[in-house]
């Protein structure tokens, strides 16, 4: 698999996964703590997901790219 493609898949897995995690956490908190309707709960979860994606994509993609391009070398004792 070409390096760029591999980097794209790894980074997408990370930022989508973390963003979904953040949205789920938001949803869970609204269910557990407050008297919220399903619209604010779901709307809020979507907004948290969108913002988390926007925050994570520029952070994750370059780091994964760099990591894939220069993998750490195994140290031999």
């Amino acid at each position: 698999m070409p390096t760029t493609h591999r980097a794209a898949i790894i980074s997408a897995t990370i930022y989508v996964g973390v963003s979904l995690g953040a949205a789920s956490t938001f949803l869970l908190i609204t269910v557990l703590t407050g008297d919220y309707g399903w619209v604010p709960r779901l709307g809020g979860a979507v907004w948290v997901f969108v913002l988390s994606m926007i925050i994570l994509m520029p952070v994750v993609i370059p780091r994964v790219k760099k990591g894939v391009a220069n993998p750490p070398r195994a140290v031999r004792n």
């Binding site: 980074s11 938001f26 908190i29 703590t33 407050g34 919220y36 309707g37 619209v39 604010p40 709307g43 809020g44 907004w47 948290v48 969108v50 913002l51 988390s52 926007i54 925050i55 994509m57 520029p58 952070v59 994750v60 993609i61 370059p62 790219k65």
Partner: protein
Amino acid sequence: MSAGTKQRVTIPVSGMHCAACVTKVEKALEDVAGVSKAQANLAAANAGLVCDVEQLSLPQVEEAVRDIGYQVPWERLELLVLGMMGSHCQEIIERAVGALPGVVRVSVTPATDSATVEFAGSLTSAAQIKRTIRELGYQVSDKGTGDSALDQERHARQSEIRAQLINLAWATPLGLVIMIGTFRGYWILADFLPAFLGNKYFLFALTTPVVAGPARQFFVHSWNGLRRGLTDMNLLYATGIGAAYTIAVINTFWPDAGFGGRDATFYESAALLTWFIVLGRYLEALTRGRTSEAIRKLMRLQPKIARVLRDGREEEIPADEVEVGDICLVRPGESIPVDGTVLEGYSAVDESMITGESLPVEKQTGDTVIGGTINKTGAFRFRATQVGRETALAQIIRLVEDAQATKAPIQKLADTVAGHFILGVHALALAVFLFWFFAGFGLWFESGSRLIMSPYRLTEVGVFGFALLMSVAVLIISCPCAVGLATPAAIMGGSGIGAEHGILFKGADAIEATSKLQTIIFDKTGTLTKGEPSVTDVIALDGARDEVLRLAAVVDKNSEHPLGEAIVRGARERGLTVADAESFNAIPGHGVEAAHEGRALLLGNRKLLADRTIELGALAGEAERLEHEGKTAMFLAVDGRAAGIVAVADTLKPSTARAVQELRRMAIEVVMITGDNRRTAEAIARQLGIDRVLAEVLPQDKAVEVKRLQAEGRRVAMVGDGINDAPALAQADVGIAMGAGTDVAKETGQVILVKDDLLDVVAAVQTAKFTMRRVRQNLTWAFGYNTLTIPIAAGLLYPFIHQVVSPELAAMLMALSSLSVTLNSIAMRGWRPRIRRGGGPAVPEQPIAAERLPAPAGGSS
């Protein structure tokens, strides 16, 4: 050039709007193979690449930039190529031209005898491309439609202006109707506005084309960036507009969904937000070009046509085809096509556009002329010495362009902040959303709260709608456009002002460093003084001063020492006949002895006369007085008896005293560095009011003295002639090279003065200070705007005033901030350094001491 050699290449980039765009372009370019460092400049609309030219692929560079939503307007050359016989010729030309470094693409059409070449002007030139085709045996000439860098830059800017104008024409009427429709239910509007205007489905039908049309660019650009892990302010706009539009659509079609109901459709927010952003971009594109007016002026100076003598005939050819050694003819009123040396004729030339000198400069045989200057009165011929990219004008343009493509340290900080700003703002928007969702809404929300600049009362808004509104307002209000523009716009203005006055800053860091100078060191000879000694006093024991000077000149007639030459010149200027001596004998380090008209003459220092046991008598006191004044006294003895003294001193330049006074007024310490003995040096310093003297410094030790001053914690500039003082200029925080003339690019130093005028040193400091003042004003305004408005948008004041910043107000404030920064930079135009605003009387020439030199023929130091 060997592979692996790093070179700086500047490429044009259009479409950047803020510091985040700059960071985005830099990151994309640094990913291109062969590029080790990229520096984009928003105001200059270009990017400087430090790269391995062998490895660099310009199409890849172009693709990287285009991929993230920006354009690369390469220079374009349209040529008429005669002599092509078919596809074979086409292939040869395409291969040869395509192999030139800097050529991006070449397309030859034998059927129409034409060739189109796109190239990077920083790597090759139109002349080089034409020469290559000519060398292949074809006739080539301009089709007259070729685009220079200037044209390309103008076309790119015009196409951006046109695109934003179309967007504006699209968004303005629709936005107006949407706003009227939204406000229909208020005041008396319902009485005379038809009901359908306020219909939510009608508003949906009008807003959708605005979001899909003029606002589309924000979604496309931000997605293109995000895919590569890059963010810019388009993302802020896209999330802001997208959120407002989505809520409006939900409230229109599913009013009970809990987003505020049918009365809280934010169609006007989405439309007006788009309108303000597009208006801001349009005005910015319109005004940004004006900050680079100076470089445009310089480019316009480049002559198009030259008249040359070839095979004894006068021929008109394109100026970029003149070759070194060509004889050029210039008539009154014409531009001088290239740099050269006058062979024949006499004229006055207006050089103000290059040197800043307001009076026309007389030119006669042997004088240097500068390409791009205007011949005023007479006609003359000259031999071309520097052509194409080597002319002074081309070098100046390149220097100014490079300077504008660099970043001042203060800008690097602003860019770093702005580059991380977008992410920070999104993180803040998330935090604001979570705060108002989980805590703020329950604690402080009051139904009936108002949106500033909007008809809505937030009666039906729920916790999600309210928290989302706060979050979106933060996103929109935080755009760092103004932060990104603040420094480059002012730096462009400042470097342009400098260029207009013959002051060339080699980079934004040079402007910043010059503005902070505390000490300026002047080399004495050739900088403070003309470097040409002259006779100042003649003392004769018997009163016959002319005879003393005449005899001294006879003794020195064969001397090649500067002091000896000064005496001979002084005698001739006074109308004295200087005959040859019958015999002549130089006594190294002491003086000269000669025989003339049967008399034994001796001209030299005290020691020489003491060695010959000649009594000085009353002359001893006179000599001491002269030396105290900083002059070099030489004794003349005739037939073994002291006869008189000839004093010689260097001459201050006319502007020296005023320049020193002005620098001191600006609280800058002025230091003089010289090889003179301390007494002589201090005499000069006293005359000029110079604060500190570094005397008896050998040329090779000047850099050490600069270092010593720096070790005292002072920011030091060294002013010198640029070649002899190169190590000291390099050591100083700012090296100022004077009198570069037509060789600006060869000079060492960060600031190059075209003229040999000390007032330009003052003008350089004043220009740099003025520029950095504007930079600080711009940054204060840009950061101040964000510091003030973000907390308000985040709802800091809401618990007290129960009003929320509406998205359209946020967009308007954002547009105003970047516009104010651009206008503040445009206002720099027309500014002149204080020292160049007239006033200030010219100081008459003053003689001062000669440099400490090895004793001349007859020297007395």
